[in-house]
Subunit: 215 residues, 8 copies
């Protein structure tokens, strides 16, 4: 006798929609959960889907939207954005970080937060970051994505006073494969006040930004 | 020919006083740096000092204050606090976490931020946390300290909407010795939007809280 | 000249049927072992089979049963259950943990132990667990499955006096990928008397429960 | 403003006295907690104390008892033992494991459980274990302590049907230094139904045994 | 300008044929090396081949022999065995260890050493090992294969005086996945004089046995 | 609103063409970047491409060249080599190291540096290295590739005075799988002045050689 | 009620005296064990003693001998050596390895095996090893000690046909601190038939040599 | 019968004086080696000495010089420096890195290489590095020391074309304790051509610089 329990009070309690983590679930499991969301008239966000899984779910939920680069599926309308300018800037060290950065972007947009994504401003070509620093300073929160040695958020945290969320990315090979070096580099940062989330956790970084914006 | 360069622009640039990390420096090195701060009329915060080091520095800098529990030394006046209620609540899972929690508290107080410290609200006796949850919800930012398995910030992040900074503590033994299990547990958290700093990094958690408060 | 030796005395010696671990064996190896079991009129339990392997074995052993969610194959009758109520409650933090939880369930049912499976009572939505706590207290043994940070058994062990077997699950990504963070979090638990088995070892958790029930 | 909260409801809730973990606390912190216990007329158990700390506490609490081999201090009477024979047998692979084994023994005796300690029955001289196996089978629960490769509980779990709690010990050097190899060997055990606690966690193993005995 | 150099003096220098490690080489690379061996009239042993690679090489080298279970390919005659009884006994804890055990067996047989393989004598059913101990004592060298916790060679080394080569196997899951727990358990062994080779290194264990037999 | 920024000033600043790391990028991402290079009339080097990706890019960029062994794609002419003899010698311990060694070779040749590749001079057959030592001494820089235990650069660094760049290779299995043992062995080397790059980082070793040649 | 059991049958069973591992035992524990040995008229070998512990034991056992460099204490006569030439040669890469090498030497001498110790023949100055290679070839077994990258046994195993026991030493710093890099380098060796024991396990290497000599 | 062999040919062979690694040697061992150096009229460099060891050696070798900050002892004259300007610039991220940086400096000065040491130019205050970049560009080789996240050499390698040797320092705590995060961050660097040596290996970085200068 099995019972499964969904946390529909999460929005009330902590202000966010629960994301359905799609990676280790079967199509059947995801589908069953989405139907419960529909019954409750809740919007839903599924993360970490392969293209194949995403497309199969679209057949069953034609009103949903599949975002291929980020592997996210959204069901229901994006909340309307009330701010006129970007509240969260998302930076990436390289082009390979775009998938996870997009997961963060969609999760924020889905909750009505306006974002801007700046790609390829890694520290190996420092001028790219320095050239944009005034623009970055205008945001309220920065999410800084980096793989390999993960130095981007450290350099940034020495330059601007905003909250910076370090988002380590699992790109790299050898010693940096899997993103652990980037993660540990961000945690070990010599720059004061940098905070970090799990490797590739774009959704988590977005929710952290939302918590900050709500203060 | 050696030259040493202190970053006196940090306050202007990112709004915080540079902390002097005392652990791997000799008394002579710390003393030399503090004199430069005095010359610039800057207040200074030294962290991670043993009692012995702290007392020796007090002889040379009689106007300084040594905070034994946290191992911090402050030179110059604490900035006046303008807020009437606690902006940051610092929680600890156990009594052994108090040293690092105090480092966070002093770093915040030194910058004029009012704090409250709630000790021994670990998840093994959940009612202690649940009994105080309404009080905790009144703060703007929460710093949640925990050693061992580090579950406290995870449980908390499912209960309240504020920004929560997980601060893993190096108390424990065997598999939890050194704090890595607490750190990884916080990073792996199933609760959305929890952010994390390095093990025992009370100063870093405080500076992250300051960045958030300044938004 | 090769010889292979099966441990048919296990039931007499320690009261359990040996499970055939299917993951690193070829179809031919498993099939050869099952035939020996049939010759001895022993029931058999094969664990960690892919769907493909399971279906191929069914062709050869039509009287066997393949349990797809758990990847288990059983040969021979389930032992009759003599208890009127559930002796073992199996909890999971999320839907992704169901496969391993089912392995534990089948292994217990196969030996005649009545079980109940409660899915999705993870600590990020604590009320789901607290709402069911009286029901959970009625069982004799609890198996608590969790991936990611693995906090569920820790929270539970602070709430109820029964034996609790922590069963870490290899769901997660980044720092929690592979289940090691969940495992270490359970071992490091601040709650007294929690015991732990290997990651994804549903069969092992079930056999531990059986040892306890037999005292 | 600091507040500290002790969990005096633990005995009611889960049937055990909270142990005060002495390792990372100062004498002052432990002393303050013990006074609160005395006020509540609660017995108390402090674990992981150095000889020096233990003796200083005896000065302040002359009615307490310090158990040097295990590093435990008990305050208040041991609960009377009602059983006529040993309910828990504690085995050690070598003489170096005695300290942790004694912590388990004291924790059980303190709660009124009768125990027996069998030292030096490691698997390098297997006959020592085999000679005592009938005696071991008479107990209700076995705690098997081992450092180095930690094979003792695995061998035992193949021989007897009782619940066996593997207790890895931090004795060893090189690859086995710190007890992680023993821990992982126990978790990886090929014997069914072995459960494990954290390295050197004698108190935890004892509390697990108590949970089992209470079923 | 590239040059490749084969070590044809190895047999003279250290008495063994160089094995060609097939895993990270392309078919073309292996084929080119085998042709050089043929030109020198040397026999050759290729290890760690997939079935697919092995079969493709057989097309090009029809006189070669592919041993599927071990993934080995031999080119040229096996050296004649001069001994009347088995000099090396190879034991495995389980059926899943047979592939690597066979690599050791073929490597020894190829050099003219007579072997015996005893499968499934793991320590979870100790009687299986104890029943055969007199037979095992008749050999000159023992290779003991085990995955999971790897306790088999430790138990054996406490029972017999011969040289025992521990051969850890990469079978297992969770904490024992990849064979590292078995390896470390063997290195940490409390039994005196056990030596160890790399995980899955059947060829290496065989060559170590040959070095010992040649003394 | 996304923006991507390419670092075209790298050649001026540090004298090298930026390599496009192909492993974690989609065909579309690489293609878009290559077009920007073409617009700027820059030559381009893409590394770590599978054969499939390489061939698809050749369709779109018919003037490019795909180097299968190394997984590199070059767009634009190789810079003319002005030196009459080999400036950099690249050594490999085994045949399996050739892919990464070739990445280093192509990266150097592409910048106009003449190289020589010596394959299979590993330390298990030391005479192969000793026989060529005078020839190796004639080069200006040596790149020494090795997997498994990675001893080749250590032995070499004791024999010649040139700069030696240790390049660990991810060939091996068990404890040496993934190349970490080779990497750590090179870093731990008892030979003075050996420097190391990341596992499989042929391009990085080449760029280090270029930095040295430019002094 | 505690009981301790010494394995006095070890000499009969596997031909070696049990060593008493002194590191994690108190003076009292060691002393009690030695007295039992004296009662049985057994010789005894205690390993891994600090100078302080060794000297205290000498007071109580004046007929014992303390070997300071190796930290060993022997009680009773060394067995007479019957061989005219050295059967085991022990090599060290550096002077820092002498302590562990001496533990191996004393353990062998104590059992009547003649040894020779060659210090400082590490691979950074290869000629030192090559100059002595003919002499080394005359021994029956070689124990090769090395810290740091641990390449010495690998190089040696490519040069001579004897059994070689790699003995990793915990000298080094940074990445090689604790001896794990040396250990893993030896396990990963590209040279065929090298066997390895735990870090700093001089006694274990000696017992392995004895097992080999007894074949 | 023990023999020890010193490598006096090293200067001829690879152009450097062998450093005597002082950390794991006793005063007696170091003293014996220094006497052999004196007999050969060789200068000597001892590294990694505590102040206590250094001072004891000065008593025996009054002509030697002990450099307290770096823990180095030099015996014999420093080689005269022939260059008019600094050939090697050594940078440190913080004041805590000065000890290791000084080891590199003394090792270079001892061989007659002129150096400059720039302290506290870490990336958390980037302007400090950018302000000095033109001066740094004038050197032939740069040694960049950094602990914590180790980002300094990465940022530098994106700015200048010279050879840069990353020297990770074991300062930090929590995740950065021991220097492994700095090391791995440097190896994983996104900047091309950065090479790395072992943690705290100031001597090794110096010898690498010498190899480069000699090309």
């Amino acid at each position: 006798m099995n019972e499964s329990i969904i946390d529909f009070q999460r929005r009330t309690r902590i202000g966010v929609v629960e994301a359905i983590w799609g990676e280790h679930k079967t199509i059947e499991q995801i589908s069953e959960i989405l139907k419960k969301y529909q019954l409750e008239c809740e919007t839903a966000l599924v993360t970490r889907l392969t293209k194949e899984k995403g497309q199969k779910l679209l057949v069953e939920f034609p009103s949903a939207e599949f975002h291929e680069i980020s592997g996210c599926l959204t069901l229901g309308e994006f909340k309307e954005c009330t701010s006129s300018k970007e509240e969260v800037i998302i930076l990436t060290g390289g082009t390979s970080d775009v998938g996870v950065a997009s997961e963060a972007e969609i999760a924020l947009n889905f909750h009505g937060i306006k974002t801007k994504l700046l790609i390829d401003v890694g520290v190996a070509g420092l001028h790219r970051l320095l050239d944009r620093i005034e623009e970055i300073k205008l945001s309220k929160v920065v999410i800084a994505c980096a793989g390999m040695e993960g130095a981007l958020p450290t350099v940034l945290a020495g330059l601007i006073p905003q909250p910076i969320i370090g988002l380590p990315i699992s790109v790299g090979y050898g010693i940096s494969g899997g993103g652990k070096t980037a993660l540990e580099g961000m945690l070990a940062s010599c720059a004061p006040g940098l905070v970090v989330v799990n490797i590739d956790n774009g959704y988590g970084a977005a929710m952290a930004a939302m918590r900050i914006l709500s203060t």
